[in-house]
């Protein structure tokens, strides 16, 4: 285990109006960790994930990526980035896969994938193209590269979204319920791709409702309840012998 965590979150709080959604969550992810974040709806797991790369501004807390802390200052209510350049550079290394894919519909599959490495990272075109082809091959949609997102099924779109994230060579990938918007028969193909990524040793944080997947793939499991970490441990510990009552009830309700 490395000495410095790839990603460390300390005491993250988030308040929407009067509602405190996150009540101080801390988490460390080392290189190669696959951490599943579980919890019933409303437990704050998606909000937590979105706070990591500041899609939501946390109300309080610290974010440390590769040993350097993200520079945050107090805005009107929430903490806001003090240094946009630092934030964009950090985001370039943290991939994010959305529940609703969020591909750009006016661009082809290939254009969606090469946009980031080509125009954000400014890598040479031949290199980016070759890598994009390789990624499309890997997620199993090479033959659809000139089609538009609307012409693909949900599962295919999500695989494109994963390829778009991978094209940036992220050090950590965050998955926000990547299969929740999919028809049941399409869930498997996306989980298959994610399983391969985990096997490659990628560092991943996954918010999911797929319990079997979380159990098999994760190195660690975190169970959130009402904005707090209720239980954390290895999949064997959390699924096999949960200590807290709520976690026990949650596990038994889904299995």
């Amino acid at each position: 285990m490395a000495t410095t965590p790839a990603l460390e979150l300390i005491n993250i709080h988030k308040t929407f109006g009067d509602v405190e959604v996150l009540k101080g969550i801390s988490l460390k992810a080392y290189d190669g960790d696959v951490i599943s974040i579980l919890g019933s709806s409303g437990s704050g797991k998606s909000t937590f994930l979105r706070c990591i790369n500041l899609l939501e501004n946390p109300t309080q807390g610290q974010m440390i990526f590769n040993g350097s802390e993200l520079d945050l200052v107090r805005g009107d209510v929430d903490l806001v980035p003090n240094n946009m350049k630092q934030l964009t550079q950090m985001r370039q290394k943290i991939g994010f896969v959305f529940q609703s894919f969020n591909l750009w519909p006016h661009m082809t599959i290939l254009q969606n994938i090469v946009e980031g490495p080509l125009h954000v990272l400014k890598r040479p075109k031949h290199e980016v193209m070759a890598y994009a082809e390789h990624l499309l091959e890997k997620v199993g949609i090479a033959e659809k590269k000139h089609m538009y997102p609307n012409q693909l099924s949900g599962g295919q779109q999500q695989r494109v979204a994963i390829a778009r994230t991978l094209a940036m060579d992220p050090q950590v990938i965050l998955f926000d319920e990547p299969t929740s918007a999919l028809d049941p028969e399409l869930v498997g193909e996306v989980l298959g791709v994610m399983r391969n990524l985990a096997d490659e040793g990628r560092t991943m944080l996954i918010v999911t409702h797929e319990m079997n997947f979380a159990r098999e793939v994760s190195s660690d499991v975190v169970f959130l309840h009402q904005g707090k970490v209720e239980e954390k441990g290895t999949p064997e510990e959390v699924f096999g012998s949960p200590k807290s009552e709520r976690c026990k009830a949650f596990i038994s309700s889904v299995f």
Binding site: R91, F96, N102, L103, P105, T108, E115, P149
Partner: protein, 236 residues
């Protein structure tokens, strides 16, 4: 009714139509160029930056185009400073006064159309830009503005047609556009029905061209929507 006057004066009507086309094209192009920064300022997170275009749009949408034309044409010459400035050769020409008024007017409307289109982009697509680590400039230049372009087309085509019809007001400040020319001919021939029918037909033709053109651009630009979402499946 005697439609031979239409044939006789048709070349004059066409030269009027050419002036109308120049008025519309110039003001739409200039207005479109001004509209973009106005629209971007309008969605700025900074309150005072938002306030400036808000006031501008409020004025130009809230007052009649005719009043705006008169303000530029009769108003500007009231000031000695304007008469002595390097802009006077331009400001003394009715044609350029009309262009200025039209440009200001259409840029206010177009800015609102652009703003609506940018804000109509689903939030998730904007977040997809953010998580790749794009800067604001990259986000707008690479993704959001091209995306908004497809959304903006139908209402933008509409604005151009409104501008075409609004351009008839140029005839009130001595410009011989299509309407101005028609009135001049009628003053000589006393055949208002024939000549106005002919002028109306020419306006209609130009509108049709604009509609056709925008339809073509729309089909090309929005081809990503795919045909399968509109066409029903063949059951056979």
């Amino acid at each position: 009714m005697d439609f031979s006057v239409v044939i006789e004066y048709f070349p004059r009507l066409l030269s009027g139509a050419w002036v109308t086309l120049q008025l519309v094209l110039l003001s739409v192009v200039l207005g479109g160029i001004f509209a973009l920064p106005i629209a971007l300022a309008r969605i700025s997170p900074v309150a005072w930056v938002r306030a400036i275009p808000f006031g501008y749009i409020f004025f130009f949408r809230g007052t009649p185009l005719l009043v705006q034309i008169f303000l530029v044409y009769y108003g500007a010459s009231q000031f000695e400073a304007v008469k002595n400035s390097i802009f006077w050769p331009i400001l003394k020409e009715p044609f350029w006064c009309a262009i200025i008024a039209f440009t200001l007017n259409t840029s206010a409307y177009t800015a609102e159309i652009f703003r609506g289109a940018i804000q109509a982009i689903p939030k998730g697509e904007v977040e997809a830009c953010k998580v790749l680590g794009m800067t604001k400039v990259q986000m707008y230049r690479r993704i959001l503005l091209p995306r908004a372009f497809g959304i903006v087309l139908p209402s933008y085509g509409n604005e151009i047609i409104l501008m075409l019809k609004g351009s008839a007001l140029a005839s009130t400040i001595t410009i011989l556009d299509l309407t101005g020319m028609a009135r001049t001919i009628i003053a000589r021939t006393y055949t208002p029905i024939e000549i106005f029918l002919a002028a109306g037909a020419i306006y209609l033709l130009i509108s049709m061209l604009v509609i056709f053109l925008f339809r073509q651009i729309e089909l090309r630009q929005n081809r990503y929507l795919g045909t399968q979402s509109i066409q029903l499946e063949d059951k056979s």
